[in-house]
């Protein structure tokens, strides 16, 4: 089992005809993802390496039965693309694009909740999601993930997500689903959404969580873990030594007004019973220990 996406997920790529969309769309298909369609209003009727291109998501859904969309549209067009996908009838939207204005994110987040409450958005500015062996949507290198479980991964960072997958694979530990929620101020899917889904997934026996400085998502996750999670968790929080007031690459990764420090996040997670590593390797080792005890 897995969360959010599996072997049945049928994906339409918004921006499949662009260089990034084409590159990753075809890589995802090579991995085994059911890449059923692309969209581009100016290239409807053509195809990308055999994948049909439609004018809109709605048409792609009607013609191919797409259930998910992956957005590879430049930042200025992401707001329109996300709304189009939701109105077009997919139930899961993965927005990879970075550099989306925070006001756009806040707007489409709230629009989706109000008008399309059954639609889940992942991202923007995220590496995507992979249920190893079943479905890979986004920019994760599929072969670094070992299929099968028992670990679910949720992460705010791209390369640290790959690092986590890799460390687990090196130890022979598989992954049910790995969700990159992204480093932006208003992520469509939160730690808590993923933790709740992993808790409900019978094949996920433990969860690895990778956070970073900024905001209070990790603290909120800690509260959820303390009250609602029965499965063991290991975690790492990047940015222990980040200076206040400086954005560390991600728009959301900033310590401001004494809030959002890694130390506070790690303390909150520890208090919730999470095994917290001081670097990604240590978090991987802690997870190996957890898996050995299962």
């Amino acid at each position: 089992m897995s969360i959010f996406v599996d072997a049945e997920t049928r994906v339409v790529y918004q921006g499949l005809t662009g260089s990034q969309g084409r590159y990753y769309g075809l890589l995802n298909r090579d991995y085994g993802t059911r890449v059923v369609a692309g969209t581009n209003p100016r290239k409807a009727g053509t195809d990308v390496d055999g994948i049909p291109v439609f004018a809109t998501v709605a048409e792609a859904v009607a013609e191919t039965g797409a259930t998910a969309s992956c957005v590879f549209i430049p930042a200025a067009g992401v707001h329109g693309a996300v709304i189009e996908a939701a109105e077009g009838g997919v139930e899961f939207i993965v927005a990879i694009t970075e550099g989306v204005p925070a006001h756009d994110e806040a707007d489409f987040y709230n629009r989706l909740r109000r008008d399309h409450p059954h639609v889940r958005l992942l991202g923007p500015n995220c590496p995507g999601i992979i249920s190893p062996g079943q479905c890979n949507i986004g920019i994760t290198a599929g072969h670094i993930a070992l299929p099968g479980g028992p670990v679910g991964i949720v992460s705010r960072s791209g390369t640290l997500t790959y690092q986590a997958l890799y460390e687990l694979r090196e130890k022979g530990i598989g992954c049910t689903t790995c969700v990159g929620i992204g480093g932006d101020p208003v992520p469509g899917t939160s730690f808590i959404d993923c933790l709740a889904a992993f808790e409900a997934d019978p094949d996920t026996k433990a969860v690895m969580m990778i956070g970073e400085i900024g905001g209070s998502a990790e603290e909120e996750a800690a509260e959820f873990i303390a009250t609602r999670m029965t499965k063991p968790i290991s975690a790492y929080v990047a940015g222990v030594t980040a200076p206040p007031g400086k954005k560390m690459g991600h728009a959301g990764a900033i310590v401001s007004g004494g809030k959002g420090t890694a130390a506070a996040k790690m303390d909150a997670l520890r208090e919730a019973g999470v095994r917290v590593g001081l670097n990604p390797t240590e978090a991987g080792e802690l997870m190996a220990g957890i898996v050995a005890e299962l």
Binding site: A106, N110, S157, T159, G215, K246, M248
Partner: protein, 383 residues
């Protein structure tokens, strides 16, 4: 992007908010000329991207042109929390009957806009929040709905502003919200928002942070990019399109991905070293980007060793290794380098690097090993 006070006021003025007439001055003479045109009395205000200006002596009242000359020469060049004052804002002085606080920012937990209004203005809002939290009236605005007048009116009532201030404040709050949303701001803050003895509401200070991701729809924001506070290293990195934050240590850090770069900085600290910077070169790690990153790090005189930490995902290990080798041919590096290469095709990548290894170009199997080695090299050079 942080705006100076005067830029913030000009920004607010575009949305119809009442601000004082003023001029920016880079020299004492310019300050005096500005005051002469505006007419005394004026305020002489340091323009820096930090708070605490008043306490540091960066804001002075000038009754006469001689006062302007004295204050401007004191303030220009003043160091306020590490920010050296390079410009002052000269504006008409205002009489104050009462001071309030107003702001909008994004509440990341609620995923809505958060407006804060307080009858206790003129002091730091963090202080009010700790000492008298009930004095801050908060309103959460759904971005889809926006802020309407009825909500603004209820909000002002909740903040217990005096009757004389209500109409003017409602007006300013609606305009402040428009500026916040239409201007793609991360933060708009007025502290203080004042009531004058004549009963007018007036914006006496402006703190504005704009979302750099929104520049594609705000062509005029390029001007603000030029006045950002960056040290020399940050300016050089910014020109090369690199995500760089200057730190105080001696180990130069290059990594791909923001999370991994942050983590690399952490690990250097953990093993007892001190990182010179945070530098994220993004996913690709090609020769061009790597050469640019090495140049920026090499120009930092504090750097004693360099730690390159790359995790290959879609970008394969051999591409990364070739990028590093090519970059090193282009840039002459003064400090020893330690490379940790992992991920996709890492073995192939290491094989490519192997023949180039020496005392000054080393490779380590893990992030921790590489960090330890880089720190040892940094310290060895310092002895």
């Amino acid at each position: 992007m942080d705006l100076f006070e005067y830029q913030g006021k000009q920004f607010f003025a575009q949305y119809g908010m009442p601000v004082s007439a003023g001029e920016v001055a880079l020299t004492v003479d310019e300050a005096v000329d500005a005051a002469e045109r505006l007419g005394t009395p004026v305020m002489v205000k340091a323009q820096v991207h930090t708070g605490g200006r008043g306490k540091a002596g960066g804001i002075k009242f000038a009754a006469t042109l001689d006062d302007v000359r004295t204050h401007a020469s004191d303030i220009l060049g003043l160091d306020i929390r590490g920010h050296v004052v390079g410009r002052v804002w000269i504006e008409k002085a205002s009489d104050i009957a009462d001071e309030y606080y107003a702001s909008f920012t994004l509440d990341r937990s609620a995923k809505k806009h958060l407006g804060m209004l307080s009858a206790e203005g003129g002091v730091e809002i963090e202080t009010v929040a700790v000492e008298n939290p009930d004095a801050i009236a908060k309103v959460w605005v759904d971005p889809v709905d926006g802020l309407d007048e009825a909500t603004a009116r209820d909000w002002v009532a909740a903040a217990n502003l005096p009757e004389a201030a209500v109409e003017g404040t409602v007006d300013v709050l609606l305009k402040l919200y428009a500026a916040y949303v239409d201007g793609d701001a991360d933060l708009v803050e007025i502290n203080p928002l004042i009531l004058t003895p004549e009963g007018r509401i007036h914006v006496l200070d402006a703190k504005v942070t704009l979302d750099a991701n929104s520049v594609f729809r705000h062509e005029d924001y390029a001007a603000y990019d030029e006045t950002q506070t960056r040290d020399e290293r940050e300016t050089a990195a910014h020109a090369r399109g690199l995500q760089y934050v200057g730190l105080d240590g001696s180990v130069g850090v290059i990594a791909n991905g923001a999370g991994l770069a942050m983590s690399t900085v952490d690990v250097v600290n953990q093993v007892g070293g001190s990182p010179a910077n945070f530098l994220d070169i993004g996913g690709g790690a090609n020769a061009e980007v790597m050469a640019g990153a090495l140049e920026v790090i090499n120009n930092d005189p504090a750097v004693r060793s360099i730690f390159i930490n790359i995790f290959g995902g879609i970008t394969r290990g051999e591409e990364v290794a070739n990028g590093i080798v090519e970059a090193l041919e282009r840039v002459a590096i003064d400090s020893p380098i330690v490379i940790r290469l992992d991920g996709t095709n890492a073995d192939e990548g290491r094989t490519i690097l192997e023949p180039h290894l020496s005392d000054v170009l080393q490779m380590a199997p893990t992030m921790l090993d590489a960090a330890r080695r880089a720190v040892e090299l940094a310290e060895g050079r310092e002895v």
